[in-house]
Symmetry: C2
Subunit: 440 residues, 2 copies
Amino acid sequence: MATDTSKRDNRITELLRRREKHFAGSFLLYQEPVEIVRGEGIWLYDSQGNRYLDCYNNVASVGHCHPRVVEAMHRQASTLNTHTRYLNEKIIDYAAHLAGTLPEGLDVCLFCCTGTEANELAMRIARSVTGHRGAIVIEHAYHGNSTLVGELSACTYPPAERPDHIATMEPPNTYRGSFRRGATLSETELAEQYAAQADPAVRQLQDVGQGVAAFICDAIFDTQGTLDAPPDYFKGVYEKVRAAGGLCIADEVQAGFGRLGEKMWGFELYGVVPDIVTMGKPMGDGHPVAAVVTRRDIADAFMQKVIYFNTFGGNPVSAAVAETVLTVIEEEKLQQNALEVGRYLRKELDRLAEKHPLIGDIRGRGLFIGIELVKGHQTLEPAFVEAYTISEKMKDDGILIGSTGRFGNVLKIRPPLVFSRENADLLIGSLDRQLTAVLN
Amino acid sequence: MATDTSKRDNRITELLRRREKHFAGSFLLYQEPVEIVRGEGIWLYDSQGNRYLDCYNNVASVGHCHPRVVEAMHRQASTLNTHTRYLNEKIIDYAAHLAGTLPEGLDVCLFCCTGTEANELAMRIARSVTGHRGAIVIEHAYHGNSTLVGELSACTYPPAERPDHIATMEPPNTYRGSFRRGATLSETELAEQYAAQADPAVRQLQDVGQGVAAFICDAIFDTQGTLDAPPDYFKGVYEKVRAAGGLCIADEVQAGFGRLGEKMWGFELYGVVPDIVTMGKPMGDGHPVAAVVTRRDIADAFMQKVIYFNTFGGNPVSAAVAETVLTVIEEEKLQQNALEVGRYLRKELDRLAEKHPLIGDIRGRGLFIGIELVKGHQTLEPAFVEAYTISEKMKDDGILIGSTGRFGNVLKIRPPLVFSRENADLLIGSLDRQLTAVLN
């Protein structure tokens, strides 16, 4: 899959040269990189005049450059931007608003700037409050980029390098995991079997003297290929973790803020109440704002032991932006839109699945959907090259999607929440074409 | 020092009540908290109509709500805000501009959102590249709020809790440390004596098998009470750290971006070139943007081993804001202003010192000044209560300053860089009054 650079624009060549000289820290998407210069709603535009339907970016979740968000940012940035060691109404109003979207008891917010910082803080809280140091994560999980949170991110390093304060458990992958749907096991039995994977993880942490500080999990299982866990899965795991003295952290950086349609937060789909919720990406429609929400008893126990302060966290501009994003989600009924358009999209995808045997499984909720491509419905051999090629070719069609999962064979559909049925039709049209083309 | 709440505004009372219910993660400055509602240039305004001369906040370093910064943010946020996995010119332009302010060779930028994230990334790079895990920090240092960076922040926990991958060394405090100015030692000898404190730190890390991954230090020694190290101090320490196979990290979150007047970066005052430079706070005039700058060989060695990506880091809005801040520093000659007004302020403070025996020592550079208060020039007994009281009373005079140092007895003067001589005169007037009043 060598890159054909013969048609590369001089401008792109020069940008790549300068990037190579002065920049590091992220790889570019697509074999032939795209220079994005403008965004509006569901659309992104490149420097060569092409328009792309954004079916991939969950950060700009109320739409690229939402005018109300931009206006709120501008107004507040023109008025005041400082830290939370002075009183300011904005962040208190937002904290109350945000807490109101969560189950009773989860009503204290600590603000920071990124999902990594939120998960770092959640782990510091869990370790401080429980007195334990260990964490249970799902195999191939991703939770961020700091030292500790990087260690929680099992997908970023080989299992042999896992430190002894981290234990992993098998994801509840009922398509290709140890226990599968459609066989003899009921949903309840599937939940029990997968939740039981927490037992050896607990023992492992206890045996090395780390104990269980926390179980941290993303309810949509993004990096595991987007999984639909059995309904009682989290209840089972939470019970075991709490019995071991650990706290349950719901990482809602991917699943939160209405994307899953039925509920505002991913964990709500599973009827559990976590001890700590972390959130980030879509919270500020691109502005760096993130949060930890927990109970007052937990927050107080932490703050009594640890000196914690985040200079930028909860500043008035971040507060104004986040408040506007949340208001837009509510007033524009974007959670409802995720539910309805998600259902429509799912129905259309099910039709594609009947036509294209490459599609092995379709999973997810609302506007977070994974389409697993396989070479055979019995072998489940991952169709990695096909997934990669389809994603590349759809870009040439003007449609941005991604791929995920341990084998990179799960197409990821995760558009801004303003995604419409017409947008879904465009996506389906391109996907249909490329599913055919990739086999020819 | 019980708070007199009898005159507390109903609005403040209500804000405090709601804050107590829904917020955690930072303590409020001042016994009677201030509700700040507006900022403009060097001034902050509270909800009761009071105006404050800001002599404390280094984040809004080109002035609160600088119109060019606000305008750049607004324009870019209206156009595009996305991540660095698409090509975008803004962040490449900024990376080249920023690298141009640093010594040759330090020309690769990795972007993140906070100083904590920058120091986290610097440590991950240092560990990855050296294969060692240990870090040498200055006693009572502060470098941020994540798990690892919290461990580097020796001022946030008792020495008994220090993990074995951290070794501390005595700060080069020539006023009250083991080796003092004005006695028999020359500056060269002082530098040698303090740099020699790195030797046992290196041995300690090697003895426990951690080795030396990095020495990390802030050249203005903010939390140590603002220190003027002997000129050859960093040369000596860097030599020892490098001999042990470690990298030298300059934490410029506090000292960088022209605040120290003579040079753009704190380490430049000491004639050394670090392997990694971290920066944050003033970089975006309040917008959450931060960076690590290093050499290409180091960045490449890291990126080959570690999967690193920061969703918000280096987004086009952060790039536009940071580019404008750097341009404003240059075009408004704010580094030169820090030098000139800093010298004027220092001269006026020296006059106060002749009049007020509470002032034991005045240190710092440019617009980062520490004034150490003591009860006796021989005993050096820290005048903590006096420092606290003066800071509180100056607030009532409409002047915001802070206090720092291991004993909390060092007044901290660290205003936005637009600070003028007239502003300095106001500060001096209030400080003069309160230095007298505190003894009566």
